[in-house]
Each structure stands twice: as structure tokens, then as C-alpha cells.
Amino acid sequence: MSGRWVELTLGPFRASWRAGLGWSIGLALLVVSTVAFWPAFRGSSGISQAIDQLPGPVVQAFGLEGFGTPAGYLRGGLYELIVPLLFAMAGIGFTYSAIASEEDAGRLELFLAQPVSRTALLVGRSVAIFGWLLVLTIVVLASQLASDAVFGIQIETARVVATIVLCALLGAFHAGLCIAVAGAAARPTRLLSVGFSVAYAGYLVRALFPLSAILAPWRHVSPWDWALGSDPLVNGAEAWRYLLLAATGVLLAVAGLVAFARRDIRSA
């Protein structure tokens, strides 16, 4: 790798280290502290009974089925909502700080005045963003597997890996979406509103559409459904789920690169 590519990727990667460290610590604490309560749940049948009292659709919408089993517990506590949502937010946040807010502040100009193409600059920053998502994936995986061992959750490792990778790919999808928005225009607030709207709408579609017979077939439009529709902690996931998330994320990022190469760069 030439010095130019080192700078174009590692430069923005290093510049995000505070955010990266914060996300890593936060996610690790979340996973470990959630798993730490498992021994208490395992022993109590009361909570399982309480959940059984809830209406079926509510249990389904909040991913509380089988809360007394290891897979059900992890799904309800982490992987139905909070971890995928945090990955999506991380994807949005890294893109916001590495591209959109940098351009808005006029800080891309100094780099674009050098002998590098706009595409190379944005590819470098996208690699840095996906690189941080990879770091977070490893952090969540390591904290989950370590705390499973410590607190005695018995669950197949392959299923845990599948679930966490799918959550991370959901984050990568949102990063790709935000790279597209940032490539199209230097409007950081638009990036945030599009990113969070799509994340929220995607969650609602996945959680609520199955409750209605008419809307249920449409739940597949949600990236959340692509990621978690197979209930991967219990069943694992088909290969197309990974591919669809990765491919749409990459395609959206490429659309951002193309748009970025064709427009004016925002000045300070």
C-alpha cells in the first residue's frame, strides 16, 4: 500500500479513535452487563410466566419469545433491538464525522487540493468507517463469547457469530446509505435525518408489520428483516441475508462516490 493510501485510510481512521473507543467500551459494557443477569433469569420461572401473560403480538414485537432460554434471553435483551440499533447509529455517526461534517467545516478542501482524486479520498474515508464497524463487531463478539463462558450461557457459537455479523452488516448498510447522502450533498443534518429515519422506519416495519395480515408480507422491505428475519440466534441465517445487506451497503456507498465526484465541494 502506498503512502497515499495509508494516509487516505488510516488518517481518517485515527481521527475517529475517540468515537471508536467510546463505542467499543459502551458496547462491551452493554453486552457484559446484560449477560451478567442471565444467572438470575435462568433460575426464576416468574419472569417467563409474566411474559406468557402478555398478548402474543406484544411478545413477538418485542422479541420476548422464549425469554427463559439462552437464545430468547439474548434476543430480547440485546439482539432484537439495542445492538442492531447501536450498530446502525455507529454507521451513521462515523459517516457523519468522517465525511459530512468534515466537508461542512471546510476541512476536506486541504486534502482535495493535493494530488488525490475525490473518489480516492472518499474510498479512503469509507474504508475507515467500515474498519471501525469491523472493530466494533470484534469487540461485541469477544465480549459476548467471553461473558457467555463466564456467566454460563449455553448457546451455539456459530449462531452468536451469525447474529452479531448480521447486526454489524445492518450498521454497514446504514453507513453505505449515509455515504450516499454525504456524497450527494454537503448537508450533515440531512445525513442524520435520513440515517435515523431509515433506521427507525426499518425497525418499525420489522416489529409491527408482522402483526397485520395485510402488511405482514411487506416486512421484507426492511433491512432489519434481512438481518434478523430468520431469528439467527435460534436458526442461524441464510447466505443471502449477509449478501443482500453487504451488497446494498456497498452499492449505496458507490452511488455516493459517483455523486461526490460530480459536484462542487463545500467551502468553509
Partner: protein, 311 residues
């Protein structure tokens, strides 16, 4: 001795072309017409002043040269290259100092120079230290701890470190103290001696006057005047303030051509001089003058005639 390397044989077409050629450049931002048809040519090896009040379209034009902006209409060639098509090759041969300095806040000057160096294929560390010493710049301080003058020095360091064929400097001395302004002029002169073309934008006449060979004066996105710096100097107005020991010789002064907008307050005489200064000095020599001040008015006032003729 062998043949000079890179001296530009007939095969190298890009060396026959002017450093910058701008033809009919137009740039609109929606309803705002920032640049409204600029034509100009910058010769190889000259220091070219790009003069105009804020908002005249200087920065927009410069950002088009660097392919940061895409022109609405017109043609630009820089060092014989199209900024859009050959942007990378072109930017390898030019260095740019932005007017608005937005530098990475947490980086040190040394870190930033290293980062830009990696993008440009390396900087000479000895030259870096020598420039830092001349600019009196501490390389180990973070951008966020630097004053605006010191940030300006960082940008100057990066521009002059690049050893480019063309230097594009947007308002380079904004915020620099007079000592550093002088050092800057020395750097520009040295660059020119090495054969570097310098494109220097400014809203301060005196700065351009000291550094440039030729000047274009811009206003409202159009070139109002283009010529040698001396010629322009002659067209520029000056503000004259004279304190006499006694009452000012107003009648004698009133006969002088080119002296306008005069006011008298006790022993003080103030006017704007729009012509040669010699006749005024001859009159003053015949009277007891306590003090004399000749200053450059702001650009609008200096080129009032040009501006009025244009509008």
C-alpha cells in the same frame, strides 16, 4: 553536461502554454452569480496579483482552478492541463493555500505536514524545519492551540514546502504581523527566482503591489482592469493628510488636478489624490508642513474610478 532534464523540449506541450488561462469563466450558485465571465492569462514565472474586495469572486475563481468547484460555463487550463480531466496530474504540480483556514484541530503542524507529505509523495524535512524557523512556527503545537496568524503560517509552510511549479495563494497574509508579511514577500520572491509562478489573491493593494508583476482587479465577478502593477498604481487613489504650521494654502491646493474630496479643519488638510503626487509635493515644499501622511485607502476607494466606470 547532458541535456537539461525537464526543461521542456518541444515535445512537452504543457510548458508552452501559459501557467493559467481562463476563458469566459462563469460560476453561479443558484441565483447568485459569483463569477460573471472572467478572461485572463497568467504567464509562466510571473507573480500575478488577483485583487478585489471581499465577495468579488476571487476565491470562487481559485476553487475552479483546483477543481473544487465546477464552472457553470467557460474554459480553464492550468499548466496546460484541464483541472477536471487531469486534476491529479495538475495538483501534483501546484500548491494551494486556502483563504479560509480549516485545519484538523487535533493535529500538530508536524503531523499535518507529514500527512500532506504522504499525499504528495514526501516532503523534505530539512526544508520543513528551515521554513518553520523562518516563519517562527512551533511544529509541535496542535492546530486548536494556534492563533489565526500561526495557522496562516502552517498553511504557508505547507504551500511553500510542496516545491510546486505554481503556487495559488488565497489571501496569504491575512492575520500575519508585519514582520511575517515581509518574510512572506521574501518567500514569494525566492519562489519566483526558482521559476515558480505565483497566483496571489488579496484585498490589500499594498501587498499585491509589493509582490506582483501584473495584476487583475476584480469586482462583482468581473475583471475591471488587467495590467502591470505600476500602471495600476498610477490609477489607484491615495488618501493624503497634511498638517500645516499655519492655515492650509487652500487656494493653491485647489488648483491641483487630481486632488478631490478635500476638507480643511484648522491646520489639517485631508484629500484624496487621484493622480501623480509630484505637483502636490511641490506645493507643500513652499509651505511649512508639520507632518504628512499618504495612505492607501481601501480597495473600493482606491479604484473608485474603475468601479464607477464599470457600473
Amino acid at each position: 553536461m547532458g541535456t537539461a532534464v525537464g526543461a521542456g523540449g518541444p515535445a512537452d506541450k504543457s510548458l508552452d502554454s501559459p501557467a493559467i488561462r481562463i476563458e469566459g469563466l462563469v460560476k453561479d450558485y443558484g441565483a447568485v452569480h459569483a463569477v460573471q465571465g472572467i478572461d485572463l492569462e497568467v504567464r509562466r514565472g510571473e507573480v500575478f496579483g488577483f485583487l478585489g474586495p471581499n465577495g468579488a469572486g476571487k476565491t470562487t475563481t481559485i476553487r475552479c482552478l483546483l477543481d473544487l468547484l465546477r464552472p457553470t460555463a467557460g474554459r480553464i487550463t492550468v499548466l496546460g492541463l484541464d483541472p477536471r480531466r487531469d486534476g491529479i496530474a495538475l495538483r501534483r504540480r501546484l500548491a494551494y493555500m486556502p483563504g479560509e483556514l480549516r485545519l484538523p484541530e487535533r493535529m500538530t503542524a508536524a503531523g499535518l505536514a507529514a500527512a500532506i507529505g504522504r499525499l504528495r509523495g514526501g516532503f523534505d524535512l530539512r526544508r520543513r524545519d528551515e521554513l518553520a524557523a523562518r516563519l517562527d512556527l512551533d511544529l509541535d503545537r496542535r492546530m486548536r492551540d494556534l492563533s489565526s496568524g500561526n495557522r496562516r503560517k502552517v498553511a504557508l509552510l505547507l504551500a511553500f514546502l510542496a516545491d510546486a511549479e505554481l503556487l495559488v495563494l488565497d489571501e496569504p497574509t491575512n492575520g500575519l504581523d508585519p514582520l511575517m508579511q515581509r518574510e512572506f514577500l521574501r518567500l514569494v520572491r525566492e519562489a519566483r527566482e526558482r521559476g515558480t509562478t505565483v497566483f496571489l489573491s488579496s484585498h490589500v493593494l499594498s501587498e499585491v503591489q509589493r509582490a506582483a508583476d501584473r495584476v487583475a482587479v476584480l469586482r462583482n465577478g468581473k475583471v475591471l482592469a488587467l495590467g502591470g502593477v505600476e500602471e495600476l498604481r498610477r490609477r489607484a487613489r491615495q488618501r493624503v493628510e497634511v498638517w500645516f504650521a499655519g492655515p492650509p494654502p487652500t487656494q493653491e491646493l485647489a488648483t491641483l488636478a487630481g486632488l478631490v474630496d478635500s476638507t480643511v479643519e484648522d491646520h489639517r488638510f485631508v484629500a484624496v489624490l487621484a493622480g501623480p503626487i509630484q505637483p502636490l509635493l511641490e506645493v507643500l515644499a513652499r509651505h511649512p508642513v508639520v507632518s504628512l501622511l499618504v495612505e492607501e485607502p481601501d480597495l473600493e476607494e482606491a479604484f473608485l474610478d474603475l468601479y464607477e466606470a464599470a457600473s
